[in-house]
Subunit: 253 residues, 8 copies
Amino acid sequence: MLKSELLKILMQVSSGSLSPDEALKGIVQRPFVEAAHGLNLDTHRGLRTGVSEVVFGPGKSLAQLCGAVKALSEGKKPVMVTKIEQGSGLDLQKRFPEGKYWDIPGVFLLNKDIDLAHPWPALGRTLIVSAGGADLPVALEALATCLFFNLDAGLVSDVGVAGLHRLFPHLEALSQAEIVIVVAGMEGALPSVIAGLCDKPVIAVPTSIGYGTSFSGITPLLAMLTSCAPGIAVVNIDNGFGAACFAVKLMGD
Amino acid sequence: MLKSELLKILMQVSSGSLSPDEALKGIVQRPFVEAAHGLNLDTHRGLRTGVSEVVFGPGKSLAQLCGAVKALSEGKKPVMVTKIEQGSGLDLQKRFPEGKYWDIPGVFLLNKDIDLAHPWPALGRTLIVSAGGADLPVALEALATCLFFNLDAGLVSDVGVAGLHRLFPHLEALSQAEIVIVVAGMEGALPSVIAGLCDKPVIAVPTSIGYGTSFSGITPLLAMLTSCAPGIAVVNIDNGFGAACFAVKLMGD
Amino acid sequence: MLKSELLKILMQVSSGSLSPDEALKGIVQRPFVEAAHGLNLDTHRGLRTGVSEVVFGPGKSLAQLCGAVKALSEGKKPVMVTKIEQGSGLDLQKRFPEGKYWDIPGVFLLNKDIDLAHPWPALGRTLIVSAGGADLPVALEALATCLFFNLDAGLVSDVGVAGLHRLFPHLEALSQAEIVIVVAGMEGALPSVIAGLCDKPVIAVPTSIGYGTSFSGITPLLAMLTSCAPGIAVVNIDNGFGAACFAVKLMGD
Amino acid sequence: MLKSELLKILMQVSSGSLSPDEALKGIVQRPFVEAAHGLNLDTHRGLRTGVSEVVFGPGKSLAQLCGAVKALSEGKKPVMVTKIEQGSGLDLQKRFPEGKYWDIPGVFLLNKDIDLAHPWPALGRTLIVSAGGADLPVALEALATCLFFNLDAGLVSDVGVAGLHRLFPHLEALSQAEIVIVVAGMEGALPSVIAGLCDKPVIAVPTSIGYGTSFSGITPLLAMLTSCAPGIAVVNIDNGFGAACFAVKLMGD
Amino acid sequence: MLKSELLKILMQVSSGSLSPDEALKGIVQRPFVEAAHGLNLDTHRGLRTGVSEVVFGPGKSLAQLCGAVKALSEGKKPVMVTKIEQGSGLDLQKRFPEGKYWDIPGVFLLNKDIDLAHPWPALGRTLIVSAGGADLPVALEALATCLFFNLDAGLVSDVGVAGLHRLFPHLEALSQAEIVIVVAGMEGALPSVIAGLCDKPVIAVPTSIGYGTSFSGITPLLAMLTSCAPGIAVVNIDNGFGAACFAVKLMGD
Amino acid sequence: MLKSELLKILMQVSSGSLSPDEALKGIVQRPFVEAAHGLNLDTHRGLRTGVSEVVFGPGKSLAQLCGAVKALSEGKKPVMVTKIEQGSGLDLQKRFPEGKYWDIPGVFLLNKDIDLAHPWPALGRTLIVSAGGADLPVALEALATCLFFNLDAGLVSDVGVAGLHRLFPHLEALSQAEIVIVVAGMEGALPSVIAGLCDKPVIAVPTSIGYGTSFSGITPLLAMLTSCAPGIAVVNIDNGFGAACFAVKLMGD
Amino acid sequence: MLKSELLKILMQVSSGSLSPDEALKGIVQRPFVEAAHGLNLDTHRGLRTGVSEVVFGPGKSLAQLCGAVKALSEGKKPVMVTKIEQGSGLDLQKRFPEGKYWDIPGVFLLNKDIDLAHPWPALGRTLIVSAGGADLPVALEALATCLFFNLDAGLVSDVGVAGLHRLFPHLEALSQAEIVIVVAGMEGALPSVIAGLCDKPVIAVPTSIGYGTSFSGITPLLAMLTSCAPGIAVVNIDNGFGAACFAVKLMGD
Amino acid sequence: MLKSELLKILMQVSSGSLSPDEALKGIVQRPFVEAAHGLNLDTHRGLRTGVSEVVFGPGKSLAQLCGAVKALSEGKKPVMVTKIEQGSGLDLQKRFPEGKYWDIPGVFLLNKDIDLAHPWPALGRTLIVSAGGADLPVALEALATCLFFNLDAGLVSDVGVAGLHRLFPHLEALSQAEIVIVVAGMEGALPSVIAGLCDKPVIAVPTSIGYGTSFSGITPLLAMLTSCAPGIAVVNIDNGFGAACFAVKLMGD
């Protein structure tokens, strides 16, 4: 609550148009909804942070998921649930038949019509680039999130450093983007190479793809954080959602 | 080198205005300067990446540092050296008396007049916020980098979560910024709190301040990466320079 | 065995009211019961430590669990088993039909009537606060333990730092508690914020909720240990039981 | 700021005894002092959290330390600085000759007369127990903090598990304490043993004493967190100050 | 693309035998095939790196695997898929009945007739040596890769340091090899011993065989990297494929 | 092969009673048996190291296990297989009906009649002590190994530090043992306490029992290695077999 | 205190030859000496554990060290101080001129005449074997401890796996020892090799010698714990003292 | 000792041309020299492993270093000492004035004339490529080792991925090399990029250059091990010597 809002409320109290008790309510009122099972849904997160509440799937029972989707979708508002496995995803789709579950990124969408099927647009103010074929789930989670929040976004896949020339046809797309989200597992070198080649800021997303010394994504995470190329910032392992949120806050309406 | 540039060169060859040999030279020519001691200074990094080459101090001998500063400052170009300790910093200042060494952030500047003394502007399109008094060196490195690259930047210091109310007078500055750089050591909670309060993307910078379980910055790094608040991306421990570079790529000229 | 008890026994020997052999038995007698399968149940742990023996479920076979419950419940004494999965929990309930298995916290109770269903009391001398909806299992384990040991305890759920305003309606409950147990996963920032806001000691419980860099609870654990807010102490990851035990030792009868 | 305080301010606005502008100031006013060098001293932390601001030494320059001590000691208020090395400690004593620097715990005290010299009281509502002779600096930091905040505190040293019988003469002191702070390095077994023997809650403080696999305190930290004895909570490595703060919040005036 | 190739193209443009547009296409043309599901198969990797593209199985759906195999096998070219589990392996074999799935190394081969059944040749310019019986899957992956790329390779198994004498009958094979690939789990001592005994360079492959402190292969990995015997280089845990690729680049045609 | 043996062979060659070729065979002959599937069974490991070859189960196929058991049991020699899960254990028993599979320690025995059922002898020159009921599998693996190698061994279970008095009835057994094997999970404090109480060397075995910060046995492992009590040596996590082997080498026939 | 001792005391009370108060004193009396600076010296540790108290140097001030040496040396008893750096070692020697400081192992000895100068005996019931020349400080600490406790001990140095043949002249010494202490840094392979060659139990001591991936001794520690050779137990990094204590408990008088 | 050598000795014994005793001596004779201070110099390591013994500096006293240099240089044989700091290096030079200490790689050379001064040859059968200016010490250690063992080697420095175009002028040198040693710190991406571009095997050397999340070289180490480009093998952090040894074994005379 910013000073200006507070001053407005105080003015109303001072002028008598608002009683102290009502003002108090206004100031401490709950901008959230208590859903079933002890959940408090933060209904004005969008207003406050620019990113409205999205349901994080893991660790929630089906009952909790349904309760959250139901509460957030009131008035046909769009709802997104992330990182849910196929079982729960299909259960959700049964309960909300007008929604759609996309299994590769593990995303459920309600009241929002988004097409995540291949081929994807390869241009956009937010350009998502993925290093390997196995990084697609994370890249698509980022794409889904961008589209859910109405960003102009594109996706270029499978252009990792083992065959860097595959990236070259997309240099112009890079030069036209405003921010680039680079998704990579294994040794995570692609963000460094892209940041060394172009003048756009890079959000790097390490993925848990790999085995042995990839340590479920720790190695690309560390490599991205330690990059000697300028203008890279990093999010959690497999966090396509978080990378997209950064872009949303930057460019969202 | 983008397709369009390449096509232009090929056209010149085709029209005879450029010989094949000259074209070849143009294509593979070295956009870097070989300085003493085996250094290759990347003189068109600014053009290519939007962030011109800055000298990273650690691990370089004084001879290497001087060689690099001399080569990059040709034609009175501005030069910045980062993360140099007091000894080498003062040595540099002796060798380049028109430069200035700032000891808290460990930054040496030549041909660029920047004032890093307290008080700092508390407003800016890039707003730097630091959690504790001991995080200042990193916050000032970020400020110096922003100013070196001509960004409009401000700095608010010592407003960590142990006394969050100290942040409240700066909520309007947050709402006026376009990007916020949050510098914090210890448990690194400040970026989460700020990202939960405002609608600006946050670049989080963990610092090595703390002891025991802060593990020289690993703990705030992990906490920032794992934040449940949307719109946070993270850079290396103590990497004020990198956070600023991200802002430069986003908003630099 | 304190000096005073020992002196009393020696006095009885000296006065002839106790034979040396009986005294010896009294001193070295086994204050535990040998149950089946090599278990030694510590029947006077309550007397000695203020917290009577509770059965830790993991790694025990059903036969061991049943043997332990049977031995500890002699004379209709209340028994609690913690951290058991649904399969074993329902098996126990079949074997002891007068008991009850609660599946979210994974707790089995016998000879003790406790209601863990939502809604929970939001006030108490011990106040449990949980950051996210997915932290409920751990928060409920803490609540069950408090109630099992007859503490006056309450639970406030889903008030994490991504929407801190959800905590505000509960500030008075915080001010009325004597000790606060804060349960949080992800980046674990809630205990820092609460300890910075109120004058009650905080027992922080990291949870394994999260993915990637939450490292199954290591990140919130480290963040809580490194907090810059005063008056926080931490227990093992997911250890709602242990946090409650601390409160029991402090305030139990 | 609790509801009741806010309601009072609104009432005053409503009755005209306070103008909206003044009310605004009252609500957002700064309960902190801006000291030199970008520090914001949190002057009402004591009121809010029960533990007034103490100066954490590491990472601060002498100028910052002096500025902080000066600002906080206004009106002859007691000031404590923790974890400062001998050099800075003696410098502070020169600048504030009426203060006293204690070198073993690395504590500087001003306007507060506390005796940390051996022998220490071995009884107290807060009883500090240290495992080894080398754990004394941390144990004394805890003792200094307790006494600074006027707790009734005692200290029993060098009674680790390699010779547990050394603890026996102090069993009565344990039974009279209300909370026990146990300081141990190496394998950190002492808190488990004490928590298994007595009915008082234990705050365990791992120390960085040891070599090799003690990993600067990580091993005792993990052992304390994983203890199978009930009623132990843990603070950061070497954090005698934090353990004492927990006791202050619990029992302070 | 080397200078000489580029010069040739430019000459052709200059002489008019190639139009600028065609030259441009030649320079930036895609030496890869876009397969289904967002995969870009790097068809001239063999030419460029000496090791043609092999399909890495993990994280790919059956549809992706089939698409990749089909695209790479055009013109009856040999194809290898690595690290696929039995389910997908047999599925592949059904779809490409002329191929063969070997379950111990988890390798699928098409258009390439290789016999991986015991006994294996115990001599070869590339000699693979495995420490324990449980290391065979990794050793056979190395053997399969060598044979796929037409190397002269042999395999000696189960000669670890717990019974070093088992290695002695193979000393002559070691002396005849040009490079030795040593596969070992547990404490990973075999590469050190072999490198101390013979004058051939050793590629060491740690395996995830073991339990407890083998930490899924971290311990042999570290032991191999830290070896005091000269001439050892190390690849990822369980990376028999990578070790063989090194040999292929060294000795392949 | 010791000097004396070699000299004897050379003497025989010199005297003509042994031809050079036969001598060569004698010197380099294979003291191992090549079994199916690339296994080399070390048949004179008992002679050389005092501990004959035991089959380590994990990572071996049923075919490999059967081959190894068959080869080692030739001539009705006793065979032990360790760490096999119930499925493979029962399969082995079917193939070798005269053998016996014990499921708690996961041990299969052939041609060796050992009783591992409760109650166990509580006395022995090698005394095994386990801290918790869930540590039994590891303690029984140690017991089985001792008995397999004909040691005089006993087992005392469930006497951990949360109720140390349970250990007191066994102090005399400790004083009569020659070596003590202490098995403990969680914080692993029991070996320290026992080594501080008695004058016998202690082999400490950390177990993977616990959750959260027990880190699958890393915490008790580190605590045991860092113990401040003298005379403790440590083996791998869950390595009851290895601890027993140490005793076998010390006291075996 | 064993049952028999306790029964004897109770008998005396019963017969009137001991008053209850005196008996109480006898039972709880302090078998330790309070030295200066809060130290409690455990004077009957030798009796109880077979290893009398030795002063661990690190973290103790010179005053503490001198106090401890003085208290323990009463009546010309032998005293050993371990792991002290040259400065403190020479200071001790000045204060106790009849003592001797050996700088390579960092050991100070008083009232005990031991010669640690090269050459060392290469035979003994306890045989110490060190892998590299840089492991000597740890090996000599083990030798000093053995000799301090009157063991028959020998030392063979610099016979690591990079040139294993250097070990061969000592195979007979191995076969005559009863226990072998193997000291190794780097990859720590020597204990595996020795345990695979001979039938003596091995106490393995990892050292912090090495760089990079030796991680200050973690790598040899892990390799030793994970060894596939039977009969190895491990102590802390650089803990020559602890390895020797194990031998003392086993074979000491 | 191979079978053929052994057979030859046995033949001589059999024919009487060698007595059993002399044969025994021949077989077990010591191919090493006992130098002062417990060192055993492995004088036929060159013969056996292809890499003669080089003195590893760290952890050795000046006396040990001098003893080793003196013993190995007998008969004017060339000697190299690695990783010695300036102090000891200059001391060595004083003692052996005909030798030379090079301070950047920390190498001392005797009886071997090698020039390590800039500029270095940029071509060679072994080509060393370093990513940054600060990686030079490690790259030069590799160069010195190659030249010491008479390899044809070159060095290209400062061509890291932040400005990859600096590598392009050296593509032909890459194509002419037989093996490439790539030295890189920070995120360690250069080996991946080079292995993806050329058909030579790559020995990757991570360096400890960097700060924060470079973790003293762990991050480039992990990135190199996890590379998705084929044909990379890795050595210890900063181990330029080891990488060169691999090349020596491969191509040395």
